[in-house]
Symmetry: C2
Subunit: 263 residues, 2 copies
């Protein structure tokens, strides 16, 4: 089994119009997966891109439900649902693009499955996901809103879902598709591309990135590196450019261009 | 807690255009629920109406995945996803209509939660649904496609979901909203409206209905009565007309116009 994380900045332009969708990019990625399917099982997890993020930000989902007036509470709960709906719209587009190229993809709603506690996934019954795979489907999950046992609600990142699924399904490989060539020794897309990275080196890199200017830019990558270190305990991890045809195939075969985490 | 089943023929015209939606009817129903919320917890489960049924029929989901050629297998799996997407479109409309009148509704994807075996629900982890309720949401589930352990895939009726949820949540009342006034001693909408019905009388009624002409018409009601008999072991059951304002409120209060199953 291989778990593929389809970054939000791959299937859409985060700085573009709301809910813009790179149909051709997604079809190309699905086409590369098709070359290895069904000999290899796949789970796909995608991010929010131009779909979920604007709602999550507008309704400040990350701030939770504690200490709110009745009106503010309802407003945030409304935002919870609307963010989920935006993610469903992205998810349906991705699933249908996969189907168009011959992959039997199927939507799984993360917020119907996972619970969080203080910003971490603490619960999620993946038996339906397991049975979907056994039945010959490719489940497509997504970063989503979720109930948080401490804070009421929170945003559940696609990266965290990947970590959780990796622990339970033990894929042989986890591949993160990004809009840059991999992990850099500096800001994403700048500095030197790191072809190999050990879990120990990840800690040093996180320290350097956290100390650099522009933590808004690097925050995402720091969280991603933290997940990657955890995932690397169980599977080979790759970071490759999802916008460049062939990079995913390379990571699947093992001779890819990008960053490989070596245990 | 009260579980409300919103029939597909209530929120849409099954014989009308694909994906037609009775926005005003759904808002009116949500408004009646609002009169009792949040003092009373609610779970809503809706049917397919003009959304899911055309896809389920076109792709013959009920026939499962056994004995199919590779092409036919992919085609049916595609139908599985497209049926789910149609249901998600209905679900988002219903959730947003509820939100518009002030109910913090939230979508729960049935196929991400439930597994079937030979046409019955055999598995479903409802902990996320429970936590959504505890957090102050009204979960809105729906009849959906589902993995069937024997047949590959099947259609999971909203009525079956209601039975399953009733066993686990023990609501004090389960209310089925239909497009007729309740259960009739004959074809739906014809014959005598039955104001009260005991579980034993349900068996006799099913026998009479099964023996009558037009089983296509009565098939739905027979399955509904079977579920109702099971549900009546745990909760008071009402069948009322969801198209007539006030009928739902009457059933919630207990002085409603429709059919009540008396244990």
């Amino acid at each position: 089994m291989i778990i593929v994380k389809l970054g939000g900045s791959v299937f859409s332009d985060k700085s573009g119009e709301p809910e813009n969708f790179r149909e051709n990019v997604v079809r190309s990625i699905a086409g590369e997966i098709k070359d290895f399917y069904p000999e290899e099982d796949f789970i796909v997890v995608h991010g929010g891109g131009s779909f979920g993020h604007p709602y999550a930000k507008e309704y400040r989902i990350r701030e939770g439900l504690l200490g709110l007036s009745e009106d503010a509470l309802f407003w945030r709960k409304k935002g919870f649902s609307l963010t989920h709906h935006a993610m469903l719209r992205a998810n349906m587009k991705i699933v249908e693009a996969f189907i168009d190229v011959g992959i039997p993809a199927v939507s799984v709603s993360s917020s119907s499955v996972f619970l969080m506690d203080s910003d971490r996934v603490v619960y999620g019954d993946v038996e339906p996901v397991r049975k979907l795979i056994e039945t010959g489907f490719v489940p497509v999950l997504f970063g989503d809103v979720a109930v948080d046992l401490a804070r009421g609600v929170d945003i559940l990142s696609g990266d965290q879902i990947v970590t959780y699924l990796t622990k339970l399904f033990r894929p042989r490989k986890v591949i993160f598709l990004m809009s840059v060539d991999g992990i850099y020794d500096g800001k994403p897309g700048e500095g030197t591309l790191l072809f190999e990275l050990s879990p120990d080196e990840i800690d040093n890199l996180i320290k350097r990135l956290a100390g650099s200017a522009g933590t808004d830019v690097t925050g995402g990558i720091i969280n991603k590196l933290r997940e990657a270190k955890e995932i690397a305990r169980f599977a080979e991890v790759w970071f490759v450019n999802g916008l460049v045809p062939g990079r995913l195939s390379g990571a699947i075969r093992g001779d890819g261009f990008g960053t490989r985490i070596v245990p």
